[in-house]
């Protein structure tokens, strides 16, 4: 679960969605990739998580799967990064690719990658490695602004990565790819189409293939409940990628309480409106994956 802004509930939502899926009998693994700001283990109540991602990166273990630790929920395992070095946030490209490769080879029903805030390349590449990019926003303008920054960053990263491949290199060398408005993405595509229509088609296909889904968190009583639907509509209109709004999660003091106690919200307050919201989102997510059977079900968080 990405989403440009910090403190909007990415990790909390990841932990709780994963728990609900595990309770439904799925094999779920959480990978904490919020390097340098990892705290996912605390959300699910593991104080001393033991082995983690650091052992894998430092080659003390060969497989990512062997640093996965079981949690108090059956079927839910966690790869934590609590014991990573403090400068872990600045991953080398080789390390990043190693992580992506091993995450993609995991054999679980659901793989959740919990990402941090921001839009740095490592983060974007983790997000793009998923089959479905989930992002979180809240109904505050700051969060929405950052969410759009994040979407655009992902979108342009996709365009750039495709165009940086060798066969397009000659054509795009003179082109200004440092875009930040949607208009520019359109112009780039148009320019390519003029020279090589099939290349433009390939790029467009690639953009269309990516599925974003998102959640609006901390919805207060007086907020617009249709914000998510509107954003979904607008994004589907203006991006080539597909967008799916999964649902609102209302604001509740009890969430704060669950975090303070370092317990999972959905197990501590299983029968509250908020838990119900999360439950509905999980069903929505499952329906989305049923509709398009995928080889691997990697979710980015």
């Amino acid at each position: 679960v990405g989403g440009g802004k910090g403190g909007i509930g990415k990790s909390l939502i990841t932990a709780n969605i994963a728990t609900l899926l595990a309770q439904k009998g799925r094999q779920v693994i959480l990978v904490d990739l919020d390097l340098g700001g990892s705290n996912l283990h605390t959300f699910i109540g593991l104080d001393n998580p033991g082995p983690g991602l650091a052992d894998f990166l430092d080659k003390r273990v060969a497989k990512l799967q062997s640093v996965a630790v079981p949690t108090e929920v059956d079927g839910l395992t966690l790869v934590n990064s609590a014991n990573c070095r403090v400068e872990a946030a600045n991953l080398h490209t080789a390390q990043k690719e190693k992580i992506i490769r091993s995450v993609q080879s995991l054999t679980y029903d659901y793989v959740f990658m919990d990402l941090g805030a921001g839009t740095n390349f490592n983060l974007l590449d983790f997000f793009l490695a998923s089959d479905q990019g989930l992002f979180v926003l809240t109904s505050e303008p700051t969060a929405i602004e950052n969410a759009f920054t994040f979407i655009k960053a992902v979108y342009f990263r996709m365009i750039k990565r495709t165009l940086k491949q060798k066969k397009f290199n000659r054509m795009t060398r003179h082109m200004d790819l440092n875009a930040n408005t949607l208009d520019q993405s359109f112009r780039i595509l148009k320019a390519i189409r003029k020279q090589q229509p099939e290349t433009a088609d390939a790029l467009q296909e690639k953009l269309e293939a990516f599925q974003f889904s998102f959640i609006v968190n901390k919805v207060h009583k007086h907020d617009d409940p249709y914000l998510g639907e509107k954003i979904e509509k607008v994004c589907n209109h203006h991006f080539y990628s597909r967008f799916k709004f999964l649902g609102n999660i209302r604001y509740d003091e009890k969430i704060h309480d669950a975090v303070l106690r370092r317990r999972l919200f959905v197990t501590r307050y299983a029968y509250t409106p908020v838990a119900n919201d999360i439950n509905q989102i999980v069903s929505c997510l499952e329906a989305l994956n049923r509709r398009e059977p995928l080889e691997k079900n990697n979710e980015t968080d």
Binding site: S139, I144, L182, F186, H237
Partner: protein
């Protein structure tokens, strides 16, 4: 930006090609609100020029679709481009909402009016009509006589003029106590006279004169 130049007006507003006017109006209001500068969900997504372009595009879409002629022209254009089929449009007429307060009468009403007028324009009663038009005092029974000879029933007059049958009867039977206040009565008489193809300018004062109501 995807498609904003390529989308059809219908897709832009999110309505079906057979949408009615009220539906288009509602959709337009919603879409406008979404792309407004104050809109929470898009203010940070678009730059100024982008927003302006989109807003203009929405305006054009709305103005085209609410104008029946422009819409027809646009539909023709879409069909020639193969983006709209006849079946998409066909349901248009069935689906568009019928206004509650229509200024034009329905087809059914018009046909009935035509039938009644035909009966009254019959040559046999023309002389009677002309006679009534010239009288300075007309009684209710004379009106009833004309109606009877033309073969028009009270129900037909009621359906055409919307005057209640009780009042029509009271007029024809000269029952002064059952008639409404003069100001309303004048209106009713005018409609009634018009229904019978009489000249309301002479018939209304003549009837009031007969009953000695007000001053003509």
């Amino acid at each position: 930006m995807k498609q904003i130049d390529e989308t059809t007006h219908y897709d832009l507003l999110g309505v079906m090609p057979n949408a009615g006017l009220d539906e288009i109006h509602r959709a337009y209001t919603e879409v406008r609100a979404i792309y407004d500068t104050d809109s929470l969900c898009t203010y940070s997504l678009f730059s100024g020029p982008e927003r302006e372009k989109i807003t203009k595009r929405i305006q054009t879409a709305f103005q085209t679709l609410i104008d029946p002629f422009k819409r027809c022209e646009y539909d023709q254009f879409l069909m020639s481009a193969g983006r709209l089929t006849d079946t998409d449009r066909e349901q248009e007429k069935q689906k568009s909402a019928r206004p509650i307060f229509s200024e034009t009468r329905s087809e059914w009403d018009r046909q009935k009016e035509k039938r009644i007028k035909e009966k009254l324009n019959n040559a046999e009663i023309t002389t009677l009509k002309e006679k009534l038009n010239q009288q300075t005092s007309i009684s209710g029974s004379q009106l009833r006589q004309l109606r009877g000879e033309a073969g028009v029933t009270l129900t037909e007059i009621n359906e055409l003029s919307k005057i209640s049958i009780q009042i029509l009867e009271a007029i024809e039977e000269d029952r002064k106590s059952n008639l409404p206040a003069p100001v309303y009565l004048k209106g009713f008489l005018k409609s009634y006279a018009e229904c019978l193809c009489l000249d309301a300018r002479t018939v209304v004062p003549a009837y009031l004169n007969h009953l000695e109501i007000g001053s003509p």
